[in-house]
């Protein structure tokens, strides 16, 4: 009897230890779903310095380097990131 009750206590402890672990992933999963609905916060905010970069653009003849810093003191830049070429938006 004693051994059995010890076993029961152990089982109870195991459930206490691992039970919540099984519940928690389910909760975090639903939190992930909520995150997808609410837009994630932006890393860069209005007032921040825009990180400099140099990328290549093809003009039909040759590849040309285009850098954000080329426009400093000359023009504003509307930098439009889009998902992929040949997609809507």
């Amino acid at each position: 009897m004693r051994i059995e009750s010890k076993r029961l206590v152990c089982l109870g402890l195991l459930i206490l230890m691992f039970g919540p672990a099984h519940i928690l992933p389910a909760q975090s999963k639903s939190a992930d779903n909520n995150e997808k609905q609410a837009p994630a916060p932006m890393k860069l905010k209005v007032g921040d310095a825009a990180p400099d970069f140099t990328l290549l653009a093809f003009d039909g003849k040759e590849l040309k380097k285009v850098s954000l810093q080329d426009y400093r003191g000359k023009k504003n830049v509307a930098l439009a990131f889009f998902v992929f070429a040949f997609t809507g938006g």
């Binding site: 837009p39 994630a40 932006m42 890393k43 860069l44 905010k45 209005v46 007032g47 921040d48 310095a49 825009a50 990180p51 400099d52 970069f53 990328l55 290549l56 653009a57 093809f58 003009d59 039909g60 590849l63 040309k64 285009v66 954000l68 810093q69 426009y71 400093r72 003191g73 000359k74 023009k75 504003n76 830049v77 509307a78 930098l79 439009a80 990131f81 889009f82 998902v83 992929f84 070429a85 040949f86 938006g89």
Partner: protein, 109 residues
């Protein structure tokens, strides 16, 4: 991108250069630009280093295959290199807010 093209003269009228960025090769972007009558440069951020620096990488799954792409976003950057307006996700598709911000900037500057 077509919507930006339609507003290009308004944007250029406020001393603003439009630059598109996508995680495609510059050649894909050129073909895309030609097909859609886009005349501003679309830069190829292959592998996404710049998209990542701007905090715009999003991960998603299609049929269990995980992928990374850019979030749709438009930053308006002034002549000093400072971000003065940003539009993200759905509001970035319609350039009217960016155009409005450009026009306000022109009045100021």
């Amino acid at each position: 991108m077509k919507a930006f093209q339609q507003n290009l003269s308004k944007l250029e009228g406020t001393d603003t250069q439009v630059l598109g960025v996508s995680m495609d090769s510059p050649f894909s972007n050129f073909a895309f630009a030609q097909q859609n009558g886009v005349s501003f440069p679309i830069l190829g951020d292959w592998g996404g280093p710049v998209t990542r620096r701007y905090g715009l990488i999003q991960k998603f799954d299609i049929q269990g295959v995980s992928m990374e792409s850019a979030r749709r976003a438009t930053f308006l950057i002034d002549k000093t290199g400072k971000i003065i307006n940003e539009q993200v996700d759905d509001t970035a598709v319609d350039p009217s807010k960016t155009v409005g911000a450009c026009e306000r900037q022109k009045l100021k500057g």
